[in-house]
Amino acid sequence: MDILQIIFWILTVMAIGCALGVVLSRNPVNSVIFLILTFFAISGHYLLLNAQFLAIVNIIVYAGAIMVLFLFVIMLMNLNADTEPQKSWLVQLAGVVSGGTLFLVIIAAISKANLLGVINTETTNIGLIKVLGQVLFKQYVLPFEISSVLFLSAMIGAIVIGKKDME
């Protein structure tokens, strides 16, 4: 077994185990910690896939900014207790069954589809920031500018929603 395959399986087990921890843990703070670990595992997968820029951005944006925002909101609401009311076991069972059914259906479809693709392990430079910047600012410059407008509107929207009522 190749060293890359061993790393792949370790990261896969870590990602799926921590994702299950997000869903199953009772304390919301533990869920946030598990989600951060999942993002680190996914960043490891990005490194295996020659997406170095995405790995760094995933850690900085997701694990660094977004999850800290979640953690702040949880601390602000004082939710770090295990007293959360649970859905009835029937609803939980229905959720697990519907998710598992989707899993099985797509697995059956993929195995019928006969996808013949192999990800070779040789390194390429498609994920380097130089190549990505060339593509981003030549072909995709209009979506990039539009996303800045999206960010502005999200910022204004968050401030307007979060503001205290005037009356």
Binding site: A15, A19, L49, A51, K87, F151, G157
Partner: protein, 99 residues
């Protein structure tokens, strides 16, 4: 490394996210499950980008991250507002549109 491994991994993460969104009552946990689903799709896009040796898919992942960051800002503002009104983030309480 066959592409099927990455397909099954991201599919498993996506279905765990769906189960979390359906099972839990805490709005923040549901939101985190949605983030998990977005990341599963990002991983699959990166795998296909490596398979076809094309960096456009990684640009698309970058845009998904941008949109997710904006979505988290607005969504958490809405959750904080709901908490201020009803003093709970339980989604079963938020059924007033039914009446």
């Amino acid at each position: 490394m066959p592409i099927q491994y990455y397909l099954f991994l991201s599919l498993a993460l996506f279905c765990i996210g769906i189960m979390g969104a359906l099972m839990r009552r805490n709005a923040i946990i549901i939101f985190m499950s949605i983030e998990l689903m977005l990341n599963a799709v990002n991983l699959l896009l990166a795998a296909f980008s490596k398979m076809y040796n094309d960096s456009a898919a990684q640009i698309f992942v970058f845009f998904i991250m941008v949109v997710a960051a904006a979505e988290v800002a607005v969504g958490l503002a809405i959750i904080v507002m709901v908490y201020r009104k009803v003093h709970s983030v339980d989604v079963n309480i938020l059924n007033r549109l039914k009446h």
